[in-house]
């Protein structure tokens, strides 16, 4: 699984991209797993109301199912335009 982080999520976690062999499940399960990896993840995912998710470059919810080849991105609500 490829994980991508943008904006302050990237800054809090300390990197923009990583590969991970995550346990099977949905986005919520992946976040729970990530939060077990260290305080930087704990901090980034402390308030899920401020986190948005994309799976394979489409907006997705916390209940989206994930497979081993998926690209999952975490970022704040967008502020373009």
């Amino acid at each position: 699984m490829t994980l991508l982080y943008f904006a302050w999520v990237r800054q809090k976690i300390g990197k923009g991209e990583e590969k991970l062999a995550a346990p099977a499940g949905d986005v919520a399960a992946l976040i729970a797993h990530l939060k077990s990896l260290g305080p930087n993840y704990m901090d980034a995912f402390a308030d899920l109301s401020r986190i948005r998710v994309a799976v394979n470059q489409r907006h997705a919810g916390l209940d989206a199912r994930l497979g081993p080849d998926d690209e999952v991105a975490f970022f704040p609500p967008v502020t373009g335009g």
């Binding site: 991508l4 943008f6 470059q57 907006h59 991105a73 970022f75 967008v78 502020t79 373009g80 335009g81």
Partner: protein, 148 residues
């Protein structure tokens, strides 16, 4: 419908973008929106980050939906990324149609959804402080009114 989507560091040329939309001669009406970095207080730099590939894909999906809702001949979206200064242009959304009302509506719709769906993030530098711009609820409201 001719669709042009570009994410770029450089500025854009409005004359050229509008000319490209109307060169087929079908479209009598082009509605455009440009967003600009405001000059405010100690704001020195606005840096735009985005999610390469998803940005283009998401805007393409939004443009397609826009073309389903109104009879359009062309849509152009140019969004800048990187370091911008107060006064710089950030984004262009231009929509061509045979009908003025369709062009206006479609341009506003596309702009509203770009604001809420396209993966861009703005970071402001003010003096030595850097902070990420907060998403505005009024932008969500603007997008939601199209769902009525």
């Amino acid at each position: 419908m001719k669709t042009t989507i570009r994410i770029q560091r450089e500025d854009f040329d409005l004359n050229a973008e509008v000319a490209a939309l109307t060169k087929d001669g079908e479209s009598g009406a082009v509605a455009s929106f440009t967003g600009h970095v405001r000059k405010e207080g100690d704001l020195s730099t606005l840096t735009l980050e985005h999610y390469p590939h998803m940005t283009e894909a998401e805007i393409a999906r939004l443009a397609e939906e826009t073309g389903r809702r109104w009879p359009l001949t062309g849509v152009t979206v140019v969004h800048r990324v990187g370091s911008l200064k107060p006064g710089d242009r950030i984004v262009l959304v231009a929509v061509a149609s045979q009908h003025r009302h369709a062009a206006f509506q479609a341009c506003e719709f596309l702009m509203d959804f770009l604001k809420t769906h396209a993966p861009f993030w703005k970071e402001e530098a003010r003096g030595r402080e850097h902070h990420w711009v907060e998403h505005r609820e009024s932008d969500d409201d603007a997008a939601q009114r199209w769902e009525k």
